[in-house]
């Protein structure tokens, strides 16, 4: 993939992720819960 195309794709995905977190109710909480679960599982391992 050409650098220009790659950067455009990366910026688009990042923007999409940001907007989804900001505007989809409960998404941020779900991600945080998942993160905490992931961290506690791996910390205990």
């Amino acid at each position: 993939m050409k650098t220009k195309t790659y950067l455009a794709l990366l910026i688009s995905i990042s923007l999409l992720v940001s907007l989804a977190i900001l505007f989809i109710p409960g998404l941020a909480e779900s991600i945080e819960t998942w993160m905490l679960g992931f961290l506690s599982r791996n910390a205990a391992a």
Binding site: L10, S14, V17, S18, I21, E32, M35, L36
Partner: protein
């Protein structure tokens, strides 16, 4: 061929770092004005909950409280923090303060120490107006250390406090403010 493969790997790695970083930054941004912190991200001003106005409470009930919400008045931001009661007083601690990175991570402790220390702590849904006063050397520190070890299995030591690695604040009443 090898160069193309390497480019794809590098692009993937950059994406794997950038997208989660953007997500975390967005979540932190979204939480910054909330009524209290989330488990990971700091929040804004503590608004909900009754404001306690009575005499100094018996703080021993905090032995059954794992974490509290601590909000500084300046800047108006809040975080989740452990609490230790000892000798009728309540304390909070901040570890990793001996390093630049630690002080950046625990910026609130620096702000409390360098600023006026005015704070609000929300415990079990009740807000208490307090003043953070850093404790450097005090015989009372032994009780704080014992409580933190017993309650949180912490590795806190008096040496860590006296060397500045761990900062201890008393959540003192706001008398005279």
């Amino acid at each position: 061929m090898a160069r193309k493969f390497l480019t794809v790997i590098v692009q993937l790695l950059i994406a794997l770092v950038t997208i989660p970083a953007v997500a975390l930054a967005t979540m932190s941004f979204e939480n910054r004005n909330n009524d209290g912190p989330s488990i990971i991200f700091p929040g804004g001003e503590l608004v909900s909950g009754e404001l306690y106005l009575g005499p100094e409470p018996d703080w021993s009930f905090t032995d059954d409280v794992g974490t509290v919400h601590l909000q500084l008045d300046d800047p108006l931001s809040s975080r989740l923090i452990w609490i230790e009661e000892s000798d009728g007083k309540i304390y909070i601690t901040s570890d990793y303060m001996g390093t630049w990175l630690g002080r950046l991570w625990k910026k609130w402790a620096v702000q409390a120490h360098e600023g006026d220390g005015l704070a609000v702590v929300r415990i079990n849904g009740v807000r208490y107006e307090r003043k953070l006063e850093r404790v450097f050397y005090s015989p009372l520190l032994d009780g704080v250390i014992e409580k933190k070890i017993a309650k949180y299995r912490s590795r806190i030591t008096r040496e860590a406090i006296e060397s500045g690695e761990t900062w201890v604040f008393e959540l003192a009443p706001r008398t005279g403010v």
